[in-house]
Structure formats: structure tokens, C-alpha cells
């Protein structure tokens, strides 16, 4: 007996780089995942997180009401849609960042868990399946917690702190977030030897290929991608001028200072400048003092030749962008993870 083939629609991804067929009405997010293309998502496809944006370049229908709060006007004009809400009933063409083709799901185990400061944890994940990962320094992964204390497992993003040359695992720096679901699990429940899974790598934050001098500004776990980039630049024998500013409140918030100062001999023209904004005068601190933005302005009054790499809280990023712009740096040369 002949069985009727279920009808499918074709999704063309990045101008024919990959073509998948899905049942009409299947969300792009689910259809792509079933075909090995893992778009970022943190809400299980419920139009809540805004992570799953893709550009629809052919066959688009207008965005649904549920998508509107998560898409800016310029994104809508550019054809951006939430993959979890886009359910094609006809053929469709979409464009996604090329690096998403290399996103995979990984299993690993916690090889090392150390307290780096009173509120920052260092985690080393050793991969078990697959056994290696390829990524570009500056990218992040999306890790999954286990359910605990009646809470569901959740997905959260973490920048990779280790360099791409260490392909057998990834190191993360995790800061305890007040009332946070994932970070409480990581600090209080997760143990060395435990299994952990994640997907990745994601993100476009990375060092450019140019020869321009680099201005790096970070705070807290914003050091993670910067540390990965710096280790990668050492391996590549980079001879660019690099000024790396790390902003913290007091000495108890500083970490990896020795390792970073060591790079002053490992790289051709590198300076690490930690700065404290609330350290008591009696604390014996002889380094820079003040808000990180003031310290950057003092040390590099003319930024116009630089490229800036920023990583930290939204408040820090916004304050840095304002100061760097005043110091002559055009927007196009200021890089940061817009998602974060």
C-alpha cells in the first residue's frame, strides 16, 4: 500500500549553506534543532527571552504580537523574527550568524571548582561527549543547571575564560547573583565530579584581525572573555598595543591580578591596570583609584586610534561607551556582547 508522504516546507539557511525540510507549522527553533542547528534559547520557545532571533530574508510574514516587545523597530524593519514564534507554512529563507553552524551540545564533568573571590566561582568543565570543543576566544556557552530544591533546570549563558587551545574543556567564572537560580545551584549544590551539560559556542565578541591598539575594559566576571582573548593573543604572539583596565570596588574584589601582570612580559606591549573605586585609604592600595571610566579617561585621554573591548554589567558598559565616545572613539570600534 502506498503511504502518503507528509507535506514539508523548505527552510533555506544562509543562501543555500544548509536546507532543511520541516512539517508546516513547526517552529523554526524546533525545526532547526531537529536538524542539528541549535539557535540560542533560554525560555524553551515561549517568546520570553528574545535569544532566538533570526533574519527572515524570503517568505516572511509579519511578526506576531508576542514577538513585538522583544524586537526593536530597526530589527523588525530588517526582517528579524523570533525563531520560536515563526511557524512557516510555505518555503522560507533565513540568515543566521555563520558561527551557529558550529554550535553543538556537550556533556562534561566538573573537574575543578574553586572560590576565586568571596562571590566568584571558578569552574573547570572537562568534556566527556564530544571530547573537544572549537570556539573563538570571547565566545560564550549556555549551561544547564539540574533541578534542586523543587526548582526546574534552567539555561544560563557564561563566557568561556579558557583559551581555544585548551580544547578538552572550558573554564568559567561565575558570580553569585542575589536570589539567582543558576548561580545558587553552582555555588551551593554543584560538586567536583558532577555531570554538567551545555551548548555552544555562541556570540560574536572577539578580537578583530586589525593591528589597531586595543583598549580592554572589564569588571567582575567580565574578565572571563577578556582572559580567554588575552591567552589566545599570547599564543598568537600578538604585538598589538593592549591596555587592559579592570574596575572593582575594593581589594577583596580583585582576582587573577598576578596572572594578568605576568602578561606584561608575555605580550609585546601590554599593560594591566586594576582600579578600585571604594578601597579605604588605610588599605595599603597603591594602584589606580576611582571609577573605571575616570581611570580610563586619565590614562588614555585620546582613544581615537584604539579599538575598545568591553565586558561587564550594563551600567559599566553604558558608562564606558559614553566616556570612550567623548575621548574620540567611533561607535564602530567599540565591541561588547549586546545580549549581555
Amino acid at each position: 500500500m502506498e503511504t502518503a508522504q507528509a507535506p514539508t516546507v523548505a527552510i533555506d539557511i544562509n543562501g543555500g549553506k544548509k536546507i532543511i525540510r520541516v512539517k508546516p507549522g513547526t517552529s523554526l527553533l524546533a525545526g532547526c534543532a531537529r536538524n542539528g542547528l541549535f539557535l540560542p534559547s533560554a525560555c524553551g520557545g515561549n517568546a520570553r527571552c528574545g535569544y532566538c532571533k533570526v533574519k527572515v530574508v524570503g517568505g516572511a510574514t509579519p511578526p506576531l504580537a508576542a514577538e513585538l516587545p522583544l524586537l526593536s523597530e530597526s530589527e523588525i524593519a530588517a526582517g528579524m523574527r523570533l525563531a520560536c514564534q515563526t511557524k512557516p507554512v510555505g518555503d522560507l529563507a533565513i540568515a543566521v550568524p555563520d558561527e551557529l553552524f558550529s554550535v553543538k551540545r556537550f556533556s562534561g564533568k566538573i573537574a575543578r571548582k574553586t572560590l576565586v573571590t568571596y562571590d566568584i566561582l571558578g569552574l573547570s568543565i572537562e568534556l566527556t561527549n564530544p571530547k573537544t570543543i572549537e570556539f573563538t576566544a570571547g565566545q560564550y556557552i549556555q549551561a544547564k543547571s539540574m533541578s534542586y530544591l523543587g526548582r526546574d533546570a534552567v539555561l544560563r549563558d557564561f563566557s568561556i575564560a579558557s583559551p581555544p587551545s585548551d580544547s578538552s574543556g572550558v573554564d568559567l567564572l561565575i558570580r553569585r547573583t542575589k536570589n539567582g537560580i543558576f548561580t545558587r545551584w553552582a555555588f551551593d549544590v554543584l560538586k567536583e565530579g558532577d555531570a554538567i551539560s551545555f551548548s555552544g559556542p555562541y556570540g560574536a565578541f572577539r578580537a578583530s584581525e586589525s593591528a589597531a591598539p586595543m583598549l580592554m575594559v572589564c569588571g567582575s566576571t567580565g574578565l572571563a572573555p577578556i582572559w580567554s582573548i588575552l591567552q589566545d593573543l599570547v599564543r598568537k604572539k600578538c604585538n598589538r598595543t593592549i591596555r587592559c583596565f579592570f574596575g572593582a570596588l575594593s581589594q577583596k574584589d580583585l582576582f587573577m591580578v598576578e596572572e594578568l601582570h605576568k602578561l606584561e612580559t608575555g605580550l609585546a606591549d601590554f599593560k594591566f591596570i586594576p582600579a578600585l573605586s571604594s578601597e579605604p585609604e588605610s588599605g595599603g592600595w597603591t594602584g589606580e583609584r576611582g571609577l573605571i571610566t575616570e581611570v580610563v579617561r586619565r590614562n588614555v585621554p585620546d582613544c581615537s586610534r584604539f579599538e575598545a573591548y568591553l565586558c561587564g554589567s550594563p551600567g559599566m558598559i553604558n558608562a564606558c561607551i559614553a566616556v570612550l565616545t567623548q575621548c574620540g572613539l567611533p561607535d564602530a570600534r567599540i565591541f561588547y556582547d549586546k545580549f549581555a
Partner: protein
């Protein structure tokens, strides 16, 4: 403050019915404690009781939201250093990466950082996040008693210097 979508006022009752409302305001994959705390009142009653309290104090909600937003922004710009935002009230911001969606559909996502406001004299304090400010602004929802992000309207108005 980052990421607040434009607020277009809409009564929260229109968003979901009572049972759904308790569910979406409970603990979730995005908020460990949820938004109701141990408050036995219906969410609508929490909102109307708080609105009545503000009216009784003669405080306009929009003015309170505006003052709180300015105080939040001032603390955020200080990047964690304490800032005096009104007589005797100190604000300390703790920035965080990542965003949390509103519990109500179609309202966007909000930065996860928070600012703690403390009155030096009494030690009274409350925590404010971009999401909690959005919920107060858009729905008049100050959250249930026992929620870590409950803002007592009278305490906030006093600490912001809007009432004696």
C-alpha cells in the same frame, strides 16, 4: 536603566484570569521566589491595597516611579559605590549580566542588576530591580509581602523624600 520597553498602561486583570495570574507570578525558571512571596491576597487585591495606600498618603504613583528610576540610575552610574539619593538614604547598585523577562507575556526583558536602598537612621531597606520598577510602573504591582523584591509603597515614598 536599561531595556524598559515603552510602558503603555494596561490593567493587569486584562492580562490573565485569577488562577493564571497566581501561576505566572509564582516561582518559575526565571524567578526563584516569584513575585507573590507568602502573601495570601489575590494579586488584584495586593495592587488595589497598594494603590489605596499611595492615595491615602497623597503620593502620585508616576511621581514615585520617576523618583525611584532617577535614584536607580544614579546608583547604577556609580558602579557599586554608595550614593546618597535623598536625605539619609543611601543606594548601592550591584550590576549583573543577563536579562529576566517580565512574568506577563509580551512585556520584554529587563537587566538583572539590583539596587539596595537603605535609610541610615533606621536601617530600613528595600531592593529594586529594573523588572520590579517596570511592574510598579505598568501594573501598579509592588509584589506580594515576603517577595525579596516587594517594595512597600509608604517606605519607598518616605525614603525617596516624597513624604515625611
Amino acid at each position: 536603566m536599561t531595556n524598559s520597553p515603552e510602558s503603555n498602561k494596561q490593567p493587569v486583570q486584562a492580562v490573565a484570569d485569577e488562577r493564571d495570574l497566581r501561576k505566572i507570578l509564582g516561582p518559575s525558571r526565571f524567578s526563584a521566589a516569584g513575585f507573590l512571596g507568602a502573601d495570601p491576597r489575590r494579586p488584584e487585591d495586593i495592587m488595589s491595597d497598594d494603590a489605596a495606600m499611595l492615595a491615602g498618603l497623597g503620593v502620585d504613583k508616576e511621581r514615585l516611579v520617576d523618583t525611584l528610576r532617577k535614584a536607580y540610575d544614579a546608583a547604577e552610574q556609580a558602579l557599586g559605590a554608595p550614593v546618597t539619593v535623598s536625605a539619609g538614604c543611601v543606594a548601592v547598585h550591584c550590576g549583573a549580566r543577563g536579562k529576566i523577562p517580565s512574568p506577563f507575556a509580551n512585556e520584554g526583558t529587563f537587566a538583572k542588576g539590583e539596587t539596595v536602598f537603605t535609610l541610615a537612621a533606621s536601617g530600613a531597606s528595600f531592593s529594586l530591580t529594573p523588572l520590579s520598577l517596570h511592574l510598579i510602573d505598568k501594573h501598579g504591582f509592588f509584589q506580594g509581602k515576603g517577595s525579596p523584591y516587594r517594595v512597600e509603597p509608604d517606605v519607598a515614598a518616605r525614603m525617596m523624600g516624597l513624604i515625611k
